[in-house]
């Protein structure tokens, strides 16, 4: 199953490291990363594969949100079908 992790917040050192470390711990494979900084705001999207991870996505998304909170970031993990549905005809 594919999912998307989004990270939005104030730019700081170690954001990518922290999120990707958590991915590795949970056996989540990162397939694509895009990040940008606009007026000091950091925005990153990660496309990930959950097929080797045995945790439910609802539990995972809570775990990532908590990890984000420690750095003051809005971190969300959602299944990827939503974005296809909304933005593709």
């Amino acid at each position: 199953m594919k999912a998307v992790i989004t990270v939005i917040g104030k730019d700081q050192i170690g954001i990518l490291a922290k999120i990707s470390t958590l991915c590795a711990q949970k056996q989540i494979n990162v397939e694509d990363v895009t990040q940008s900084i606009v007026q000091g705001m950091f925005a990153m999207t990660m496309v990930v594969d959950l097929s080797r991870c045995d945790e439910e996505i609802t539990a995972l998304s809570e775990r990532f949100a908590k990890e984000g909170e420690t750095m003051g970031l809005d971190v969300r993990m959602t299944r990827s079908e939503l974005y296809d549905a909304m933005h593709r005809i």
Binding site: V4, T6, I8, D32, T34, S36, A43, T45, V47, I57, T58, S61, D74, R76, M77, T78, R79, S80, E81, L82, Y83, D84, A85, M86, H87, I89
Partner: protein
Amino acid sequence: MLNTNDILETIRMISQENLDVRTVTMGISLLDCADEDPKRACEKIYRKITTKARDLVPVVERISSAYGIPVVNKRISVTPIAMILASARNPNPVDYAEALDRAAKEVGVNFIGGFSALVHKGFSAGDQELIHSIPEALAKTEFVCSSINIGSTKSGINMDAVKLMGSIVKQTAEATKDDQCMGAAKLVVFCNAPEDNPFMAGAFHGPGEPDCVIHVGVSGPGAVRAALAKEGKSCSIDKVAELIKRTAFKITRMGQLVGNLVSEELGVPFGIVDLSLAPTPAPGDSVANILEEIGLESCGSCGTTAALAMLNDAVKKGGVMASNHVGGLSGAFIPVSEDDGMINAVRRGALSLEKLEAMTAVCSVGIDMVVVPGDTSAAVISALIADEAAIGMVNSKTTAVRVIPAIGKKVGDELDFGGLLGYAPVMPISTWSPERFIGRGGRIPSPIQALKN
């Protein structure tokens, strides 16, 4: 390949612009619960609802969490209870309302609609009993919503029912006067009521629907307003309509996705998506604010009806492309107490009941969540219902009246219902008497528009 900007736009719409799926509503037929013995009928009703909807709330919550889509309400609509009452011997309709209430509580939904009767052409067995019991039923229950259809384009307007409903609305407010007259906020009087409406208080499960079905109502006024604020500041009205269409498409696709997933997981057919802009009292999540973003100093000014007509049409055009089956009310809602911008427009004296009536001719539903003085006569409320029903009947559209007579209060006072029902100032209403007109009774003949064959 997923596009980063698309992903971030979606996240922004959800986290900052109040985009959500407003309701996932399970429609359940109770036709097989009718019984000569009222007690047995109530048991069957409770058992059927709690069986069919047992997994509704947990499944919707799991999907909401996995896809990051907020789903605000989980609800149930049932067959109009008057149809079930018809075959019972000396039933007390309040017992049926209490059975619905217990079932709603058991499965964890926040409203159950269908304490209803369809009387647009006349009363049949069960109808009058149900209508007379509404004040007590809504006072004694927490989750039950009631709706009465008193007219249609095909049949005209049942003026006997209109007369009765003016008095019932007042009695319902009286019966709940210690609770902000809440009963009247859960009672709606329709013309051309849709049978697959997922929104409360008017949801019921029409007799032509399948045994069990999932309907979805989308929302998103905040997202539409934000899109206009970002890109539509000085463009022509054609571009404004285009921006609304594009946003409505995205909003509706989200609703369609949630509907498909819930339907698949519960093994229940997917009915319709209701393409609505449903506001909430949260700042920014307002249909009135969209009209102001289009260029009106305040909602209620001259130009409001034209801007709303364009908005309503663009929402439908964008939404219909995004959905397999469209139904329900589909259009922009203009409830006063549930829309921060409408509340402010009333407070500043820019929005009157007469302007709201004009607006209902070009958008979804009608005079909705409007608080009127407590001493408003039953005949005036009946006449307001008749006016709205006439707009619906002649224009072949749904119209409705959900007014709350604020018992013991006058213009300038406020009622606060809490939650999504919001709060509203008491609005002035014409006190010239329509008593003789309403007293005539009978039925307004169906208009020439009804003869389409």
